[in-house]
Symmetry: C2
């Protein structure tokens, strides 16, 4: 579980303790220092860090490439996000997109821009999280760039994955009557953020209080230390199911269903009573006076996968606790619709998290 | 030539003209808008922008991956860098690393973090430069991310290239008695920056003066619109020369010679009188009271390539105006040394541009 929160920011601001200045190392020395413990494990990594570019060999396979930026003050708040978790999450955000292609994640590059308010020890924490993620998810860190920023911290990760051409699943393959399936449960990460934001306000008033967050531990862990669904491509392969379409839903279930429908040129019926919710999500929604369906549809940051399968594949997945059928694909003319518990049909709206709009 | 300078900043600050707010489009709409004119030209690009990840197929070839960050206030100053040129340069910075592997650049991803002081029209300029670079250098833009920043503009580009395994050239293959060769000429980009910085100070005092920079046009163009050496891998192939080692020298000739020597476990004799300098570099160094050798060795931002070849390949390259032999590889014990015009031997020092130290 997440043990230390509301402390790390204080460490960053602590001017009295002796910390190593980044400028003492220089760019080349800094990269070398931060990446010295990274190992290469994949056969496809011919050459990792240390030359003008990394060299990869995928033989007859195809490779997938995806990239994401995380910006302090936009995507994360260091007053309650420990840097080690941030490093871990920055990797997860990208791996999730690789798994959404039904591919195996194999390599990442990690670039950071960082202001001089961060001592070396802070970056070591960040890279410890990146290394933990790389070790657990078995991806090679093959490069990156480290530079100053005029303010704050920014992390840019590019992830590379590998798959046989026939195994890759796109967003555009859903067909009428296919079943709509989601992994895991939804809404917890958003609620974790609400809890952390609330406690931050309490902390501002009384910095000595350490909140008892035990009852929210699942929510906070989903927010601060999400796990990408590495297991899903493997599971589907084992079950001999190839989805007809697949998409990462970290931007929100609703908006991503709409992307999938748009690109597949189909409609969908999504059943409100099928949406998987953890009991903590239900109880915390009540506490915060939030509608749990709205939170599940639009909260975002659930690093889960949404996919469609042919009806004939249903017996293969039905017993699996990781997978929930939440709807089915319809004709395009029917649009993307939510079928409520009261059996009303209402149009889905994309209210996914928008990093442009929120700032 | 570069026509408009010291004007663009004013446009950014102009609160009276009606500009499109980024928040009106949202993240997805913004990416779609900015990338709608990008075309896919490479067979290796199976799928570009529009899914969770791009899909690439290099068949039996290897691929190279490199990434670089450019940060406002650290790497560029928008008071004299037009956004179109900045977009172009952000691509060049990365392609140069691909060519330094003796590979063909094939794809890029472009991510930007941008504060809301930038109207949509500014990003359109930036992307126009990116598109121009992608068109001229024949690379497919296959993805990226667009998000807010709390301040300023940051561009993160990842470039992918393709090469046969046997053609890839690393930094670590230089052998004793190999010849040291550099492309183009050196020091101009650094002097271009000095000229622009000087004119910025003049402009601050008298905003109505438009400077006559004709005599510095080569220097300014090298700074604001550098070209990566796409031609060099092609040229070397045509000449049937495979370098024993190669490196991009945009961080400074001196520091990169030292990297090459360190990784190849060799020494070098670099001859001061062989370093290629444009006549404008010599005259402007006199004007600024700078030592032209120091500028060539440590100025940086020359997107040129440094490589070593076997002596027996010398006849193949000697007539080429793009290539200059500037030294030869020695035993490691001799170290990396500059042989001056006075025939003195002094140890090379890495004083390359350091984005960590300078801020």
């Amino acid at each position: 579980m997440i043990l230390i929160i509301f402390n790390f920011a204080a460490m960053l601001e602590d001017k009295n303790t002796s910390k190593t200045q980044l400028s003492d190392l220089g760019e080349f020395g800094l990269i070398k220092h931060l990446t010295k413990h990274f190992n290469i494990t994949h056969k496809s990594t011919v050459y990792g860090i240390g030359d003008d570019a990394a060299v990869l060999a995928f033989e007859g396979d195809q490779c997938v490439v995806t990239t994401d930026l995380l910006v302090e003050g936009v995507h994360f708040d260091l007053s309650y996000v420990p840097l080690k978790h941030l490093g871990y999450k920055a990797v997860m955000v990208n791996l999730s997109d690789v798994y959404a292609m039904n591919a195996t994640a194999t390599q990442i590059t990690v670039s950071i821009a960082v202001s001089n308010r961060f001592p070396l020890e802070a970056l070591e924490e960040l890279y410890a999280g990146i290394k933990t993620a790389a070790d657990i998810y078995k991806v090679d860190v093959i490069g990156g760039d480290t530079t100053s920023s005029t303010t704050g911290l920014l992390i840019s990760v590019t992830a590379v994955g590998q798959a046989k051409a026939d195994d890759i699943v796109y967003r555009n393959g859903a067909k009428e009557s296919d079943l709509l399936v989601v992994t895991g449960d939804l809404g917890a990460a958003y609620l974790g953020l609400q809890v952390l934001e609330r406690e931050k306000e309490v902390f501002k008033v009384n910095p000595n209080s350490q909140p008892d967050l035990d009852q929210y531990s699942y929510l906070i862990e989903r927010q601060l230390k999400p796990e990408a669904r590495k297991d899903i491509p493997e599971l589907l392969k084992g079950l001999e199911v190839k989805p007809t379409s697949m998409i990462d839903i970290s931007d929100g279930l609703s908006s991503e269903i709409m992307h999938l429908c748009e690109q597949s040129e189909v409609g969908v019926h999504l059943y409100e009573n099928k949406i998987p919710l953890d009991p903590t999500v239900i109880s915390t929604c009540e506490e915060f006076n939030l509608n749990s369906t709205t939170v599940a549809l639009n909260g975002g940051e659930d690093y889960e996968l949404l996919f469609t399968i042919k009806q004939e594949d249903y017996p293969k997945i039905k017993a699996n606790p990781n997978l929930t059928v939440i709807g089915h694909i319809t004709n395009k003319d029917q649009g993307a619709a939510l079928i409520t518990r009261a059996n009303e049909k209402i149009a889905l709206q994309a209210q996914g998290w928008n990093p442009i709009k929120n700032n």
